[in-house]
């Protein structure tokens, strides 16, 4: 029994000492973690203020700042990249260019160009997104190649990225991506097309004559949204020719009609009137033709609308009643 008391006392002492040591260890670990986080915050704030300074720096000071941020090593360097990637889509002009210069100087463009050929689809999609943000002529070829990637997610990200990169030479590739076989939703490719500057109308004129109904549909819709009057005649031809096609599509006719209305293409007025009253056309096509007629300006179009009101069904009359 006496031995038992001794053992118990020793055990209690050991336990107490153990607890004190454990407590001290926790305090030391937490303290060092806090100190590390404080140091990191201080460093990150310092880097952040240098990034913000890109907005005001000029000429030589700007070059020095770009170099400084480009050579920031380790986790702080990652912080520079993440902050810039967040900010670039929000800004334009010389600040955006300076930010992209920092990322390019850090090797992000080179790394992304390598990663877009990676075996991992996640890596390829990530690289495509970065290339879109970085922009410039050198990203167009790898991104257009990624539009044909075996993985749909990569193709989708590449289409979006081409819209972000906003280079006119991507137009033809994005029109091809409207194809029914690409798997890329029309809205994604069309939205990217709407972002491109200085577009070439011939790309859309060819698209309106394409064998693929998806390309014809997307081209027709985008031409209207861009108010691309150079393609209006081809749009009308596409509308007239669609009925005779092997793979004729109501959505193509409807998109052509709506875009002709947006473009106020007067030569199409009589044909649109016929379609809006045609019993052989689907309801959606008749309504699209009615919407286009409503948008047509001038006294002649007003007279045509008056005749259509006498012949068309209730849905079309409802569209035209306010015109």
């Amino acid at each position: 029994m006496l031995v038992s008391w001794d053992v118990l006392a020793i055990a209690v002492v050991v336990l107490v000492v153990g607890c004190i040591v454990a407590l001290a260890a926790v305090v030391v670990i937490k303290g060092s973690r806090h100190a590390r986080e404080r140091r990191r915050t201080v460093h990150e704030n310092a880097v952040r203020s240098r990034i913000m300074a890109l907005a005001v720096a000029e000429d030589e000071a700007l070059d020095a700042l770009v170099q400084e941020l480009a050579s920031t090593p380790g986790p702080l360097g990652d912080h520079v990249e993440q902050t810039l990637l967040r900010m670039i889509p929000e800004v334009r002009g010389d600040v955006r260019e300076a930010m992209i210069s920092v990322l390019a100087a850090r090797g992000l463009l080179r790394r992304s160009l390598q990663r877009i050929s990676s075996r991992s689809a996640i890596q390829r999609a990530g690289a495509a997104e970065l290339l879109g943000v970085l922009g410039g002529s050198e990203v167009i070829r790898p991104l257009t190649a990624a539009l044909r990637d075996k993985n749909l997610e990569v193709r989708l990200v590449a289409a979006r990225a081409l819209g972000v990169a906003a280079r006119p030479e991507a137009g033809g590739h994005l029109v091809d991506a409207l194809s029914l076989t690409s798997g890329i939703p029309h809205s994604v490719a069309a939205t990217a097309l709407l972002n491109l500057p200085d577009q070439d109308p011939t790309v859309y004129i060819e698209g309106l004559r394409d064998r693929d109904a998806g390309i014809r549909y997307g081209s027709a819709a985008v031409v209207g949204m861009l108010l691309m009057s150079e393609a209006a005649e081809a749009l009308f031809e596409c509308l007239l020719a669609e009925g005779g096609r092997e793979n004729a599509s109501d959505v193509v006719v409807a998109a052509c009609a709506r875009s002709l209305g947006r473009l106020s293409y007067k030569p199409a007025t009589s044909e649109l009137a016929e379609i809006s009253c045609s019993s052989s056309a689907s309801s959606s096509v008749r309504q699209a033709a009615g919407e286009a007629l409503r948008a047509m300006p001038g006294a002649e179009a007003r007279e045509v609308r008056r005749h259509v009101m006498e012949r068309a069904d209730a849905d079309v009359r409802r569209i035209l009643v306010d015109a």
Binding site: R86, V91, G93
Partner: protein, 122 residues
Amino acid sequence: MPHKILVVDDDADIRDLVSTKLESSGYEVETAGDGVAGLELATNNGYSLVISDVMMPGMSGVDMVRMMRAAEPPVSVPVILLTAKNQERDIESGFAAGITDYVVKPFSPRELAARVAGILAR
């Protein structure tokens, strides 16, 4: 006395970028992270101009302007709205609420500063 400008944006990056640019142009800048805080500051401090994002948690930039104008007495400080591309409705409702001008994102800080200078020179 430098002009005092309030920048309201829930995105800290944009807030800091705009502040840095305006401070470098010689303005005194204060910031708020949402419409509610922005309204509070705008109502109680004498700012020469307010720059506000549209989409913010709690209260949108447009609602903030509407409440500034409806306050008693009304806060009639000029307001520039920072709006995303293709948000024509925000611009329309912004002007109806009483904004002075708008800048579309992605925006150029240099252009924003020029617009600020133009409005403050009126």
